[in-house]
């Protein structure tokens, strides 16, 4: 906390950061002020009037907290009869035409209107005139479904399309109780961040067609994760759940605030990438076309490694630093080469200047820092010399089919150690299933040199093993990436001061980044 100010809330002294509005400043101190329209990313709009607070001896005495900066000596009153009446009346006003269809609303359980009603109102409806009917289940495009009846007209969605994406597809049309959020005729939402509107909407007016009716919000376990969809490494929540008699699956990703990396939002592509964690997973161990037990598969690979004169290990640019290190170590053990060839992960022109990076791999900086060669010439050369290829989950066909590499590979003894069933692994004689990023923990470094740590979120019924564990079964000495950290730290000078347990939640910017500086 930088500069602080002291103020009084309900005549108790609180010390908060200076320069913030009352909502944000007091939230840090654990004092919640109800609000609909204010969002730190979108600024104060002051239209919902839900955050009105009383300032003792203030002029005017009642002000919206979102537009009032925290000031020294301010006397904020949140529990006076007047403020309670204001909050109750505002909620009654919002609920006049609200359909109260919580049983069929996906927002139920994480709805501000529901929570505030329970906390500040609990009043019966006094309305004896029919409610105003508006349109429901409108397809706004990009997977956003709008329900005009549930809307509280806070305008967060409208401001998002105007301020953040600057596409301005949404607007509020008409006035009074005919007012509603709408798109322009025939012009649906068309931007790569549209689904953030679903996160932003404080009520159930904006829901996602992908998540629609899939699961109730209160069943979901919300774990913190880091998106592996591109080199940005956006922070998100992994919402997953194990149905009775079922397996632990992911239902959705939501944006997680990290001002150092992604701010408040994530892109739609990343948000939808959770499907890849559930689907097309490699679960069988295959040796020579037949399904075998995992142990037999490992035995077959060890045998091959012992006979091989020159094995080649291909690592994935999505692997964690620890996994890359573990592969490097067993490559040394078996006298093999290591390649991190992954040009296919870079899709030129697919990025933008906001969150989407054209490199679709999560930890290419890790490859660079560990001095793992990524060029195609090196791969073709080592592939020519190799008599055994171990591919650790590197999908080199990611954006286009690399015919030459595929042809060379098909002539070799090819072992795929992979999390997904992909074309790149089809020609393998041995296939070993492994965990994907939601099922292991580790550290990755994004393209801005921010090192981020993430933990395991999903626990499958038959948990697949992580690459570090696979290398240990293949004869490697590393049992745990954290124990191997001293070795990694010595190799990468940039990480010399980094202790995995001390990496803060929002990641850590690595300093003096530059040329790969490798000593081992």
């Amino acid at each position: 906390m930088g500069e602080t100010v002291k103020l009084f809330v309900n005549s108790q002294e609180v010390e908060v950061a200076a320069g913030k509005n009352l909502i944000d400043a007091l939230a840090v101190a654990g004092i919640q002020i109800p609000h609909f329209c204010y969002h730190p990313a979108l600024g104060a709009d002051g239209n919902c009037r839900m955050c009105l607070v009383e300032i003792e001896e203030g002029r005017p005495p009642v002000v919206p907290a979102c537009k009032t900066p925290a000031m020294e000596g301010m006397k904020v009153v949140l529990d006076s009869a007047m403020i309670k009446k204001v909050q109750q009346d505002m909620l009654e006003f919002e609920l006049i035409n609200h359909p109260v269809d919580c049983p069929v609303c996906d927002q139920a359980g994480e709805c501000d209107l529901q929570d505030y009603y329970m906390a500040y109102s609990l009043e019966e409806s006094r309305m004896d005139v029919p409610q105003v009917n508006k349109k429901k289940k409108l397809d706004f495009g990009c997977g956003v479904v709008h329900d005009q009846e549930r809307c509280v007209l806070c305008g967060r969605c409208v401001r998002f399309t105007r301020q953040i994406t600057e596409t301005g597809e949404l607007g509020i049309v008409n006035r009074t109780d005919a007012a509603r959020v709408d798109i322009f005729p025939g012009k649906p939402l068309d931007n790569r961040y549209a689904l953030n509107i679903v996160d932003l909407c404080p009520v159930g007016a904006m829901t996602s067609s992908d998540f629609r009716f899939k699961q109730r919000a209160w069943f979901l376990t919300r774990d913190k994760g880091v998106c592996h969809g591109c080199a940005k490494g956006c922070n998100m929540y992994i919402d997953h759940h194990r149905e009775k008699y079922g397996d632990d699956i992911i239902y959705r990703y939501r944006a997680r605030t990290n001002l150092q990396v992604n701010g408040y939002f994530i892109c739609d592509e990343g948000r939808m990438s959770y499907h890849l964690q559930n689907n097309d997973r490699q679960t069988e161990t295959i040796v020579g076309g037949a399904s075998v037990s995992f142990d037999d598969g490992i035995k077959a690979v060890v045998e091959k490694l012992n006979q091989a004169k020159k094995p080649l290990m291909i690592v994935s640019p999505n692997s964690t630093v620890g996994q890359m290190w573990a592969v490097l170590r067993i490559a040394t053990l078996y006298g093999g080469d290591v390649s991190g060839y992954s040009d296919g992960y870079i899709i030129e022109g697919s990025g933008d200047d906001y969150l989407i990076h054209e490199d679709k791999s999560a930890n290419r900086r890790g490859l660079e820092l560990l001095a793992i060669k990524q060029d195609r010439a090196h791969l073709l050369e080592t592939l020519g010399n190799a008599d055994l290829v171990l591919n650790f989950d590197n999908d080199f066909h990611f954006s286009a089919h690399d015919i030459e590499v595929a042809k060379l590979l098909s002539e070799k003894d090819y072992v795929a150690i992979c999390s997904h069933r992909l074309t790149a692994f089809e020609t393998a004689s041995v296939v070993i299933p492994i965990a994907s990023y939601s099922e292991y923990d580790g550290v990755i470094i994004n393209h801005d040199d921010v090192i981020q740590r993430f933990s395991r979120a999903v626990h499958k019924n038959n948990p697949p093993k992580d690459i570090v564990e696979i290398t240990r079964l293949l004869g490697g000495a590393i049992t745990d990436w954290k124990r191997a950290w001293p070795g990694i730290r010595q190799t990468i000078s940039l990480l010399r001061e980094v202790e995995p347990d001390q990496i803060p939640e929002e990641g850590m910017k690595l300093m003096n980044s530059g040329e790969p500086d490798v000593t081992a």
Binding site: K137, F213, F219, Y245
Partner: protein
């Protein structure tokens, strides 16, 4: 302590009682007497002729669940998952889907109750905001020769009608 004390007369101390066999025969006489009486006419039996005669159950009896229907025959359930959330034995498994008939937006595409796990507590009925699930089917004996049949779906759940008239049921619920 002002508890009432009742002194029970001890029997079996007399000589004839201690002989034991005489008492056995006296007891057998009672049993055989009942046997011949019931053989002649069993209408005065002290037990119910189950399963020919079913017990009378009250509207508050919690029998096997049923899903109720609107008057037009559409299912009342809107798949809000309140029953599943409230279920202490986690025996209700719902899958929700889009509803196209205009009644609501949402309906269950799968609604399964594992009757082997159900403890018939009635919390699902209490939780339901739509009065869509009730335990008034009057089915009190749920049996099967295999586990699979004890998992019932929508088809079985909407099949039985309510066993009581609406007023009686509401009185019981009230």
């Amino acid at each position: 302590m002002g508890a009432k004390i009742k002194v029970v007369e001890r029997k079996g101390k007399t000589f004839f009682e201690q002989l034991y066999l005489i008492e056995i025969f006296k007891g057998m006489a009672v049993t055989v007497g009942h046997f011949f009486r019931n053989l002649r006419d069993n209408s005065n039996l002290y037990v119910r002729h189950y399963p020919e005669v079913k017990p009378e159950i009250t509207p508050r009896w919690r029998g096997r669940h049923r899903l109720t229907l609107h008057e037009d025959g559409s299912i009342k359930c809107v798949a809000c998952f309140m029953c599943q959330t409230n279920c202490p034995s986690e025996c209700i498994m719902i899958e929700a889907g889009e509803r196209e008939d205009g009644v609501s937006e949402k309906m269950p595409v799968k609604f399964e109750i594992d009757l082997l796990e159900c403890i018939y507590c009635g919390y699902c009925v209490e939780a339901c905001p739509m009065d869509a699930i009730r335990m008034d089917s009057g089915v009190f004996s749920v049996t099967s020769s295999n586990r699979e049949n004890m998992m019932i779906g929508i088809a079985e759940l909407i099949e039985p009608p309510g066993a009581f008239n609406e007023d009686e049921y509401q009185k019981g619920v009230g």
